[in-house]
Symmetry: C2
Subunit: 131 residues, 2 copies
Amino acid sequence: MNIGDVSRMTGLPAKTIRYYEDIDLVTPLRSENGYRAFRETDLHKLAFLGRARALGFTIEDCRALVALYEDDSRESASVKHIAEEHLSKIDDKIAQLQSMRATLAHLIHACAGDHRPDCPILEDLGADITK
Amino acid sequence: MNIGDVSRMTGLPAKTIRYYEDIDLVTPLRSENGYRAFRETDLHKLAFLGRARALGFTIEDCRALVALYEDDSRESASVKHIAEEHLSKIDDKIAQLQSMRATLAHLIHACAGDHRPDCPILEDLGADITK
DNA sequence: CATTGACCTTCCCGTCACTGGAACCCCTAT
DNA sequence: ATAGGGGTTCCAGTGACGGGAAGGTCAATG
């Protein structure tokens, strides 16, 4: 299989697949013409990576997850631990975004949004720090 | 005022302030010794920028907001527009994170997290795409 | 046989908003 | 004289790719 086929099948851009090879996440063979030759296992691993990335795992998390995936003597606790750490980071981000969202929504609500210059949003951002 | 004072007063790292000068968000004067000499207006603008960044506005948004802040003939609608666009991007991000969170929480819940290798998380990530 | 067009290759730069670090200068106090 | 705590510039790195150039390869067509 060439990179285009793998790209179509996994939904990953060819650029991304080449990048994953670059950082040693996959190691496809090479055909005589120099093209990357992907095996079933490469395809499978790339699909795995695509799904893990879609869940927001970092590349390094993905590397660890793949290693566990291929380790028959893994303990599911190791996997769960990585997932839980990640979940907690997601929760942090959500909380931060919701806090921003609340402030912003409040300011937007207070702003007339008309042709006049008076604007509570700018007033808030420009509050004097020396007071 | 030197950069250290401004850093303390605004809470922005000195590195960040230098970066903001680099991209022309602020233009402090220079003392004879080559040190940056910040005026009240610079301080004020940097505080503005810090707050806007804390609300998640991009640097380019900040540039536009500062311009509006300094424009007496602005229309509050312009400000509100920027803020609403930003709010909608925040909402998109929150939605995406919550979707990840839901999937992830579900998988974590299904995983025993013990010494055995069986793991629904890895099973999900490794699902066969050819089927 | 030549050409077209779709594929593939490597390589390098750009993204975003900084952060770290090196190498160096300046100022004040001891 | 020295020590420390400022300040300066410049370069490189971050994460996870994406864009685009310059060129090689392959299958099908005129």
